[in-house]
């Protein structure tokens, strides 16, 4: 994750100026403009020419497209915000073309990672793209909105698969390099490491689906784009929900600027995040956690378990620390992002683990995979057995979460591992519910049982990380075997 101390300091300085100097009614605009600049600035350099300029621009284009498709069907609500939406469009256009002027700056002063394409060409292409969008929006307005939205979701899934599957993304990179006159033979799957895309895709799908079910509130273009690209949550979440995010956004004009309580809370959150990420996680990264290299070099079962535990802790502290920083930064700007972790390694069953690990992703998967799939299977005539429905729904949900991290066999197996784990836990708890309730009257036995369940759950989660961490199926399988003493 490219968030380092320097960028954190920049964010914090911007936040102080924003809260202290800016008139309340300009805060919303400042978040849009600041976040737009930030997504160009945070994008790390990419080898294919212009990619580190084009991809952030494509993020903006996707956000605008998402807004066009999710506008409420009634005409009235469209007209009231029309003027502001036009202004937003102009602002985004000026910013995108303005970023191309980084081309003429010395590398040290550039906001983009490498030299962007010519501003004139950029402007022409963006205007063409804008025309195309407006035309398709006109056509879409006449079509059945449900279908158009399904098409939008499908489009996002296709782009996601193309970028997250190594073979496909290499092919795209080859094509890109051919177009820009670079050597296509050098194309690699990491060529198009599009910053924030996984999160952007899931936010977009959430709004498209919620428009279909009528849950999405009417949003202005400014609100919608800010929700999609809000800088503190852009790199690695949390995945907020649009209706919650805009509540905070709409309250910004009346927010107390330099509120000591808010700044204090944010400061503590950021400090806690810094400690978790840069002290604990980064120390564990110094040889105390499992990697593809030391997995192959380990010489004993015990040593391998220690490394695996080191990795489990490192992953948690890295991600939870990052989330603390994102939430703290969000607070500085007046947006309270949702929590993402709730002491996951202390839970005593796999279901509560998933209610406390990467919570915004697991809720997303529950809303858009698990519940709709379970419901539609429950509605089938004849109705399949509930056991089968649960199995199918759990596996579909967890493999979606797995593949969201990258489309590979190891992530698939990791998803399957947890899908089966959740299924088994449900079968178990359905059958032992009465027994478990009666356990409440025997405090000592209950304590012992909780301790035992916690231990089993933790081993299950930690073993799962082998598939999550090691990208190569053979190495992951060999390491997994070695943890049980096989294959030394």
């Amino acid at each position: 994750m490219p968030l380092d101390l320097a960028s954190l300091l920049t964010f914090a300085t911007a936040a102080v100026l924003y809260a202290g100097l800016l008139n309340g009614r300009w805060r919303g605009w400042a978040l849009l403009i600041g976040s737009t600049l930030a997504i160009y600035w945070l994008q790390p350099p990419l080898a294919p020419r212009f990619a580190d300029y084009v991809l952030p621009t494509a993020t903006l284009a996707l956000a605008i497209l998402g807004w066009l498709l999710t506008r409420p069907p009634d005409v009235e609500s469209r007209q009231t915000t029309l003027r502001e939406d036009r202004l937003t469009l102009v602002v985004l256009f000026v910013l995108a073309v303005g970023m191309a002027f980084n081309r003429y700056l010395d590398a040290a002063y550039r906001l983009t990672a490498s030299r962007p394409p010519s501003p004139l060409w950029t402007a022409v292409i963006l205007l063409g793209l804008g025309g195309l969008f407006l035309l398709s929006a006109r056509l879409a307005a006449k079509a059945d909105q449900r279908r158009v939205l399904s098409g939008g979701i499908l489009f996002m899934v296709v782009v996601f698969v193309a970028l997250k599957t190594a073979v496909l993304s290499t092919a795209v990179a080859q094509l890109w390099r051919t177009l820009t006159g670079q050597n296509p033979a050098l194309a690699a799957p990491t060529d198009l490491a599009w910053l924030g895309f996984s999160y952007v895709a899931f936010r977009l799908i959430h709004t498209l689906r919620d428009r279909q079910t009528g849950l999405l509130p009417a949003l202005s273009l400014r609100e919608y784009v800010t929700y999609i690209i809000f800088a503190p949550a852009f790199i690695a979440g949390p995945i907020d929900r649009a209706e919650r995010f805009v509540q905070d956004l709409r309250a910004l004009p009346h927010m107390v600027g330099l509120d000591a309580a808010r700044f204090g809370e944010a400061g503590l959150r950021i400090a806690s995040g810094l400690f978790k990420k840069f002290v604990i996680a980064d120390s564990l990264a110094q040889g105390m956690s499992l990697t593809a290299v030391n997995a192959a070099q380990a010489t004993s079962t015990l040593g391998l378990w220690m490394l695996l535990y080191g990795y489990a802790l490192r992953l948690y502290f890295d991600f939870a620390g990052y989330t603390d920083m994102a939430i703290g930064l969000g607070l500085l700007f007046g947006i309270r992002l949702p929590e993402n972790f709730d002491r996951p390694y202390l839970k005593s069953n796999i279901t509560t683990f998933w209610q406390s690990w990467h919570m915004t992703l697991s809720s997303w998967a529950r809303f858009y995979v698990f519940t709709p799939l379970s419901r539609s299977l429950l509605r089938r005539k004849p109705r399949p057995s509930p056991t089968l429905i649960v199995l199918v729904a759990q596996i579909a949900t967890m493999t979606t979460i797995g593949l969201w991290h990258g489309i590979s066999w190891t992530f698939f197996i990791w998803g399957l591992w947890h899908g089966v784990g959740l299924f088994v836990h449900k079968q178990w708890s359905d059958r032992t519910r009465k027994w478990y309730r009666e356990l409440a009257e025997k405090p000592w036995q209950k304590r012992a049982w909780t301790l035992f369940s916690w231990f089993v759950t933790l081993q299950f989660v930690v073993l799962g990380w082998v598939w999550f961490l090691l990208p190569e199926l053979g190495l992951a399988a060999a390491t997994f075997g070695k943890l049980f003493g096989f294959g030394w």
Partner: protein, 85 residues
């Protein structure tokens, strides 16, 4: 019985019979059904389908959550709200 009580008793019967699968269980009005470990996310989906069939109300997927539907009181209030609307 008034409307509210009818809804409440229908739900209580459905939940203890189909979801908790223990009809002898004495389910309280304000008892956390999901947080208390009596029901899970899948049961919430089953609840959604039941409400659709029984009351002709569609509760969207993102409203089938612990926060919104953890107790009988919350469920009854939700159904009454949708019936009234």
């Amino acid at each position: 019985m008034n409307e509210e009580q009818t809804i409440r008793e229908k739900l209580r019967a459905f939940i203890t019979r189909e979801l908790i699968r223990d009809e002898s269980y004495n389910l309280g009005d304000d008892e956390g059904i999901v947080t208390g470990g009596l029901m899970d996310s899948f049961s919430l989906a089953e609840f959604g389908v039941y409400v659709e069939d029984e009351f002709n109300i569609y509760i969207p997927d993102s409203d089938l959550t612990v926060e919104k539907l953890d107790t009988l009181n919350q469920m009854v209030a939700r159904i009454q709200r949708d019936l009234g609307a």
